[in-house]
């Protein structure tokens, strides 16, 4: 009834090619943005920012990044945690070496450094594929974590090897450090999420995205029709790593404020982000958000229900949380192997016909 193409006339190519061709989708998109920018900042408190929204937004960036590489270009990567660490340590080194550098620039440069590192580790993808590439990126994960633990230059020779984010301000408002208000931190991360999601969405539906998808679907055929595998795969690694690096920089400086590489960027982080995109949906920007929400928000919600309102002992609640999240992952993957994004797509197909399915 509301969700339909009929009557939604396009009079220009630009209108015909826009991201959300259906009017209802467009309104929903603008409504979500309006709420995220105009409403949430007025109600956000420390708990909602630090425990719920910041991790969601930051993991969403990381998931979009990995989705570009794995979902769109078909290169399996288990190095996400290591690349996030590169972003985090790059931002730390930049923040401490150039205290006056604008923090937005710091985050973007950290992404750039990660992109360069990602390209180096992407080189083997030209020769090896599938599981073998996954193992090669796993090596990247372990190597990078080892490196940041081993070489004291990366953590400025501090006694413990921890890195701490000093305070940085944007327009006079602190966004990192303890004095940062939840609103400032939230809006700062939201800015990057919106910016990067729009960039990713437009990259994936343009020429570059199509070349990625052709490599994913059949690399030999893609090569025959003139897609350069070197440039395509390396661009996927670079752009994916850029996103992951930005996520790592925000994760360290805005969200946690202090990290230790083995604990924060270990192999479990790589798996977590990989699970996000598998559950959310490979090759879908919406799926990256859905997967991040599923993996970040659900445990917090379950914990609050079981400990907060039912008053269960914390250890039993923690075990139940594993069971329920695990069971739901299996349930969703059995019901819909293409992830939450596919469920959403099916729902939209149904909505187009609703309420007259015949």
């Amino acid at each position: 009834m509301f969700y339909r193409e009929a009557g939604d006339f396009k009079t220009s190519y630009a209108a015909d090619q826009q991201t959300f061709p259906i009017a209802f989708d467009r309104y929903r998109y603008w409504a979500v943005l309006a709420i995220a920018i105009g409403v949430v900042p007025f109600f956000i408190n420390d708990y909602w920012a630090n425990a719920v929204l910041l991790p969601f937004l930051i993991y969403a960036i990381a998931a979009i990044g990995l989705n570009i590489l794995t979902g769109y270009c078909g290169q399996v990567s288990l190095g996400t945690g290591g690349f996030m660490a590169v972003g985090a340590y790059a931002s730390y080194k930049l923040m401490t070496a150039f205290p006056d550098l604008n923090f937005v620039l710091v985050v973007l440069l950290s992404g750039g450094v990660t992109a360069a590192v990602g390209m180096i580790f992407g080189l083997p993808s030209l020769r090896i594929k599938g599981f073998y590439l996954a193992v090669a990126t796993l090596a990247a994960q372990f190597f990078l974590v080892w490196l940041f633990n081993k070489v004291p230059w990366f953590y400025n020779y501090s006694a413990s090897g921890q890195i701490n984010a000093p305070e940085r301000t944007i327009f006079g408002h602190a966004v990192t450090g303890a004095a940062a208000s939840p609103t400032a931190k939230y809006l700062f991360c939201l800015f990057f999420v919106i910016l990067l999601a729009v960039v990713a969405r437009n990259l994936t539906r343009g020429r570059i995205g199509r070349s990625w998808m052709s490599i994913r679907d059949m690399d030999i055929a893609a090569e025959i029709i003139g897609v350069n595998p070197l440039r395509t795969k390396l661009s996927a690694f670079a752009i994916s790593s850029f996103f992951v690096g930005v996520a790592g920089a925000l994760f360290f400086s805005v969200y946690l404020g202090a990290v230790e590489v083995t604990e924060a960027f270990g192999i479990q982080k790589s798996f977590l982000v990989l699970f996000m995109i598998i559950i959310g949906g490979l090759g879908s920007i919406f799926g990256s958000f859905a997967g991040a929400a599923f993996m970040v928000l659900l445990p917090v919600l379950l914990k609050n229900v079981m400990v907060g309102s039912l008053g269960w002992p914390t250890d039993i609640a923690a075990h139940f949380e594993f069971i329920i999240v695990g069971a739901l992952i299996m349930f969703f993957l059995i019901v819909e192997p293409h992830g939450l994004a596919q469920l959403w797509r099916i729902l939209k197909e149904k909505l187009r016909l609703w309420p007259f399915p015949h």
């Binding site: 006694a159 946690l256 229900v305 400990v307 250890d315």
Partner: protein, 428 residues
């Protein structure tokens, strides 16, 4: 529908979390799950049981009941942050993060929110400088004291001369394990022993190469900064290469029953540092039996009483209760705020008499806290494992550490932190 409603209730409860002034809230960031659960459970049980005892026996602290707010972190920093944010609104008086990573995380946050942190025997060592870290306390001893205690112990064994001796440090390759290195390097220069460093990566199940190196280099003593499964593996490996156990000294986090029992008789004679006394041979345990266990109010399974880490939780809770009493005394009100709690912690005095009055004679070292020194005098003892009797027992008194070396290091590290974060060191 019910699920939805409960979820909605949970969310509204969360948003409306306002400080309840009816009781004194002591959050316990515990880990009863995850890789370090075996160590986290006894500590959390001991911490909770002492507050239950105080409520049941004394009717609370100064007449106000204490409430322990437990939150599961799984030793995970992100969950620790969630726990901190969800409990601080309830009027939390003091945080015991029980993880070096989470402590580093909370130091700036809690300082900005004005809630004290007590990292007892872990966390950031230089937080002992109260001029730079007004909200962080790490009495009665910290890792650098620990490093010095271990060196002092071997000094005693060698008649005060360590020149030419070789000491190896087997450490967890993380912020926690790296803490003693600076101190040991300084001490090695001072006493002329040779120090070799052997990092073990998390979680520490694979230590063959490290112990092969020890077998080759034949150090006179091995120190260990380990946690969780790493301790068990190291002790087993040491037993396998027949390293003399009495020359193997662990930090206080490497000296619980969990660590030595798997190695069986091989662990006999293994030493660890101690912040507090061992066993359950204290009058306070009779009270715990009577008011907590027999009343069916013991935390967890109630099977940890008297273990080393249970005692540590008990000790941490005792120090928190004493600090709260002190705060009530200073401010003349029973309903204390976190800021008052901080004043109480800063004025804390633990003497022989006060411990005896609590039914814990000689349970921990005697110490006083001041604004300049949030770490206390750094007293510690050495305990040794008797595999036949399955007991830990203290083999030394609570002795001093080399504060000349440590004090300088604390001054240096905290000055660097103050400069990095624009803090003006001062005593209020």
């Amino acid at each position: 529908m019910t699920f939805k409603r409960t979820a909605a209730v949970a969310l509204t409860a969360l948003m409306a979390a306002s400080p309840a002034l009816a009781d004194l809230v002591f959050p316990s960031l515990s880990y009863r799950t995850g890789p370090y659960a075996a160590n986290g459970i006894p500590f959390a049980d001991g911490y909770a049981d002492y507050f239950t005892l105080v409520n049941e026996r004394d009717g609370g602290i100064g007449g106000v009941p204490a409430r322990v707010l437990e939150c599961e972190t799984g030793y995970n920093t992100e969950k620790g942050v969630e726990c901190y944010e969800s409990t601080k609104g309830e009027g939390a008086l003091v945080y015991q993060p029980l993880s070096t990573g989470i402590t580093y995380q909370l130091i700036p946050k809690a300082s900005a929110d004005g809630i004290p942190i007590h990292s007892m025997g872990y966390g950031r060592t230089s937080a002992a400088n109260g001029k730079v870290f007004p909200w962080v306390f790490n009495y009665p001893a910290n890792y650098w004291n620990g490093a010095s205690h271990a060196v002092n112990h071997v000094l005693d064994l060698n008649g005060g001369d360590l020149s030419g001796k070789k000491i190896a440090l087997v450490y967890h390759n993380s912020a926690y394990g790296k803490e003693p290195i600076r101190t040991l390097e300084e001490l090695s220069a001072k006493h002329g022993f040779e120090l070799s460093l052997l990092p073990v990566d998390h979680p520490g199940q694979e230590q063959k190469s490290q112990w092969l190196q020890i077998r080759r280099e034949k150090p006179d003593y091995v120190f260990m900064w380990g946690w969780g499964v790493m301790n068990q593996v190291a002790i087993q490996e040491a037993a396998n290469i027949r390293f003399p156990m009495e020359n193997f000294v662990g930090i206080w986090w490497s000296g619980s029953e969990n660590d030595v029992i798997p190695a069986g008789d091989g662990a006999n004679g293994y030493k660890a540092l101690a912040l507090h006394n061992t066993g359950s041979d204290f009058p306070v345990f009779d009270d715990i039996q009577k008011y907590v266990v027999d009343a069916g109010k013991a935390a967890g399974a109630g099977d940890q009483i008297g273990t080393v880490l249970y005692n540590r939780g008990l000790y941490a809770a005792m120090l928190a209760v004493e600090a709260a009493k002190k705060a009530q005394e200073i401010h003349g009100t029973a309903d204390i705020t976190p800021a008052m709690m901080r004043d109480g912690m800063e004025a804390l005095e633990i003497s022989e008499e006060s411990q005896a009055a609590l039914g814990m004679p000689n349970f921990g070292p005697t110490f006083t806290v001041s604004c300049e020194n949030h770490g206390g005098p750094g007293l510690g003892a050495v305990q040794q494992w008797d595999a036949a009797a399955q007991t830990w027992s203290l083999i030394t008194d609570f002795g001093p550490s080399d504060m000349e070396v440590i004090g300088a290091l604390i001054e240096e590290d905290s000055a660097a932190y103050a400069a990095e974060n624009g803090i003006e060191p001062a005593c209020s």
